[in-house]
């Protein structure tokens, strides 16, 4: 498996369990919010909030990672 995928998988693994599960269900399994809420026995709003937090954290991690790479390799 290429190094870049391992890196992003590791970033997802750093998320809290609930956010990690929801982002995998939404972005990997491509499930609907309603389906996820039903499977996890939580409200759709809770799914949306956790999904938003997970994606924002992931974006922060990506941007930080990008900045470090730019500093190291120009």
């Amino acid at each position: 498996m290429p190094r870049v995928f391992l890196c992003y998988n590791r970033m997802i693994d750093l998320l809290p369990e609930m956010q990690r599960t929801i982002i995998r269900m939404k972005d990997v399994e491509e499930m609907e919010i309603t389906e996820i809420a039903g499977m996890m026995s939580i409200t759709e709003n809770a799914v949306a909030v956790n999904l938003s937090r997970a994606r924002k954290k992931l974006r922060e991690m990506i941007l930080t990672h990008q900045q470090k790479e730019n500093m190291l390799y120009g």
Partner: protein
Amino acid sequence: MDNIDNILNNYFEGKALPEEENRLREYFRNNTVLPQHEVYKPMFAAFDKEKQIVSPTFIIPVEMNNQRMFSFRRLWISAASIAAIILLVVMFFPFNKNNSSAGDYLVFINGRAVKNPEKAQEYADQMFTQADEIIRTSYKPLVEANAIQTKMDASKIFDDLAHTIDHIESLNQ
């Protein structure tokens, strides 16, 4: 491409519609990604890559299928063990503990209710001592045996009979 920026913002806010998310996925799968969006491309690629990973399937050999029988046997052994433990607890656990407590203790001695077990025990010991004393002083088995033996002495009985016969014969003469 402002539209993509908006969709990307909605995506990170968790507000993107399903069709917008599909459009984003398609956009990042193509090679026409703008330089400012390049940073997010590996993330969507990682999602796609993870989607392709098929979880491994394990085929249990036929000879390993006796696992179920083993489980059934283990279940049976567990049930038997639990039953044995319950039996031991029932046998040795003092369930009647409350019945023997001083509060519930009640015996009647000579028509009088006694609630204190120590007093009852003391009274019982006293009664046994008195009974033993009465038996020991009033019952003399050797004396009574000697009396019976004397009374039932055969030679004396025959002597008495002979004497009675002699007396009757003398009266007839």
